[in-house]
Structure formats: C-alpha cells, structure tokens
C-alpha cells in the first residue's frame, strides 16, 4: 500500500513552495530533504536540542516537533532567510563570527534563530534575557559565553545603527 500524500503550500523565506508530502514527514526533513535548505540542522529529532529551530509566522519553534503538513498555509523563515539579499551573512551572523560564538557550528542555526526572535521582540536584552532566549538550544562546544557575547554585540550594533 502506498502512503497517502497531502498537498501543502508553505511560504519559505518569502517564496511560495508547494509539495505533496507524507503526513509523517517532519518539517525539518521537508526543509532539508525536499527543499534542500540544509542550513536548518536536524539534531536530536525529538525536541531537546533546538538545532532545528525556525521561525513559524515570526515565532521560533522546533521544526522536528511539527509535521510539514501542519505548516500548510503558514509562513517560515529559516537560517537561509536571515542572510542579506546578496546571500552574505546578516549582522547577527557576523556578530557570531566576530565573537567566536561557534566551533563545530551544529547548534548555530538554532541559536541564531532564537537570538533573532529575541532581538526582534526586545532590541536591548539584558544577559538574563539572552540566556533565557537561547535556553532551548544546546551547544556542546562553546560553554555559551561567546554566544551570549555575540548576541550582546549584535544588539549593540542594532541600537547604534538605528540611533
């Protein structure tokens, strides 16, 4: 018996994407395997590590804890969508490089999605708010300190630019 397929239409990084998917296809597998957007990382695949975080209608969610069919009609931003229009890294991504906020890079897309959502809601977060915002993402390399530094750096630059 072949698996039932469902028609979905999702806006991903500003582009309308249509597909036929099996119900059990997770959103992260849809992004990586069907759309080849491999910037979103599949880590634990059961909602612990945060590497697969994406923005669903502007809010950070774990894309391994959703089936693609549930995202039908919704709007997504992945890590690729945070780059500048010419494809070069955005200010937050630059700050991660500058502050040495990554080593292996596995958690980085999830960290940047979480940090982006934080800065959109709260442009001048304090350290406790930063730590709370990235609390749902695990990093095994950095000890988190440089990640916190990077987000502070990016927040400072945003404030400077808008001043």
């Amino acid at each position: 018996m072949s698996e039932q397929l469902y028609s979905i239409s999702i806006e991903v990084n500003g582009e309308r994407r249509e597909a036929l998917v099996a119900a059990r296809l997770t959103l992260v597998d849809f992004l990586r395997d069907s759309l080849r957007l491999t910037g979103t990382h599949a880590g634990c695949e059961h909602g612990i590590c945060g590497a697969c975080s994406v923005l669903l209608d502007g809010e950070p969610v774990r894309s391994c804890l959703m089936y693609a069919v549930q995202a039908d009609g919704r709007s997504l931003i992945t890590i690729e969508g945070l780059a500048l229009p010419d494809g070069t890294p955005g200010a937050l991504q630059d700050a991660f490089c500058e502050a040495h906020a990554l080593q292996c890079g596995y958690c980085t897309p999830g960290m940047i999605i979480a940090a982006h959502a934080l800065l959109e809601a709260n442009p001048a977060p304090d350290e406790r708010e930063i730590r709370e915002a990235i609390g749902g993402s695990l990093c095994r390399c950095t000890g988190y300190q440089q990640i916190v530094d990077a987000i502070k750096l990016a927040a400072g630059k945003r404030t400077e630019n808008s001043a």
Partner: protein, 309 residues
Amino acid sequence: MKAVSFEYARPATLAEACELLAAYGPDAKLIAGGQSLVPMMAMRLARPAWLIDISRLAELQRVAMPGDLPADRDGVFLVGAGVRQCVIEGDALARAHVPLLARALRWVGHAQTRNRGTIGGSIVHADVSAEIALVACVLDATLELRDTSGLTAVPAREFFLAPMITSIAPEQCLAEIRFPLWSDPGRETVRGCAFDEVSVRHGDFALVSACAQLVVDAGGRCMRAELGVGGVGPVPLALPEIGAHLAGARLDEQTIAAAADTAANMIDPEGDLHASADYRRHLARVLVERVLRAAKEDAMRNLMEKPTA
C-alpha cells in the same frame, strides 16, 4: 527515529473532530501543539493510525472571564484547551486573574516549545512533573471533555490516574479548562501566589515542583490557601487538607515550616536515576516552604499596590 506512517485529518469544527474520534477510536490521536506527542511518535512510543489536527479550531482558542457571576461566589476563568502556552504567558487578563498559571508557564519547556505547546495538550499528556497539570489540580480546575454526545465535566483532581494516564476516553477531546476565580477577598485582604521547582537544568522536566495560592490579610494572617506538589507520585498532588489547616493561621516561619513538614510526610515519592526518594521528599519540604513564603510575600506586595479607595 521517524514516526510510523499515519493518515492526517484537519477537521474544520470541534464537532467534526469528535466524529472522527468516534469513528477511529483508539487508532486516532488528537494533535494540537504536538510538543509531547511528536517526540513520542518519533520514538515510536505512540503509533496512531490517524492524527487529527485540532490546532486551528477557533472553538478551542477562548480565553475569557464570564462577567455575569455574583461577586460573593467564586467565578471562573475559561481557557480553551487549544490555547498556546505563550498566549497565556502574555495575556493581561490571564495574568491578572489566574496569575499562578501564568507564573507556572515560565517553567514549562522553552520559548520554542511554548510557542506551539497548548494548555490542554500538557494536561492530557499527564506527565508526572507537568506544571500546568499541577496548577489545574491545586486550583481545583474543572476539565470539560467533549465527545459526540456532549460535554462531561471532570475535576482536575480526579482526572489524573497514573503517569501519562488520565480518565479521558479515546473518543473524548478536552475542550476547555475552567479555573476557579477566587472571590474578591475584600479591602483588607489580598491574594498572592508562587510556583517553584527544581530540575537539573531550567526547562528540563522538574524533579519536584510546588505551588501555592493564598489570601492573606494585612497582618499576615492566612484567610485561604491552596497548595500542592508535583513529581512526587504518579499524579500531581493537591494538598487541600494543609490548605484548610493554614486558613486562619498567621503565616509565620514556624507555621510555614510545619506545613512543609506535613506535606513531606504525606507524600510517598519513588526514587529513580535522577533523584532518590529521600531527595525528592527533601525537595518537596524545601519547595513547599519556599512557595508558601513567596506567595505570602507576593500577597504583601500586592497589598501595597492595591488601591485604597
């Protein structure tokens, strides 16, 4: 791992969702936020043949306080089962009227999971350490279960049977949670509440959690109290006997310590890989003490801010 194959339906109304549940029975699972169910399916601990998506049903999204209740009786605050946890966190009405629920939410998972996870989903999942389930028991909330034949009301304190097992039938859907609103305690008294827990890391499942809601007068005398502990038995445990005992007492350190001792002696926790039974009992004592003290302090703060008119 990946979930086994299943079929997916997204009914347009709650009635239609109940019809699908009636038709498929135990082969179907409801999904709203999926923050507990999807991991269980990934690990193949759950293998539903049908997934019925109720996350978009407007009927399950109500957050409301019916205004036509007599002032001298406890009112009720309604939270639709499908309301996302992040919505209650930010909802001014909920924060004002069920502050204990709003406060408990900051202990529930992480921002990424609270953006999807629902109030009702956490309750029906019935994890022994679930914060929302504990608050529902402590506040003596009523759960409205819907099926094709209508609504059944079940007290939260009778809903939980064992870890991840509740009295809900396969064809029922939790539709609404009714949190009792304590009547206005009057000019000279004020309400306070607190939630606290200990876990390995913030956002992890709690080893033990505790919460309390009090009405206290200006002299620090307790007029009314409800409290409870989670993670120390198969189901969240409300302790109404201790609450009744505290009513009328001055909430000094001695009274608070005695209440915490009583709580620690009433429970029968099991030890596991994460915490021994003795350590859980110790945590229960410490946390009950902390939440009673913090709820009293919260009440005192609220009293200072209360308009005197």
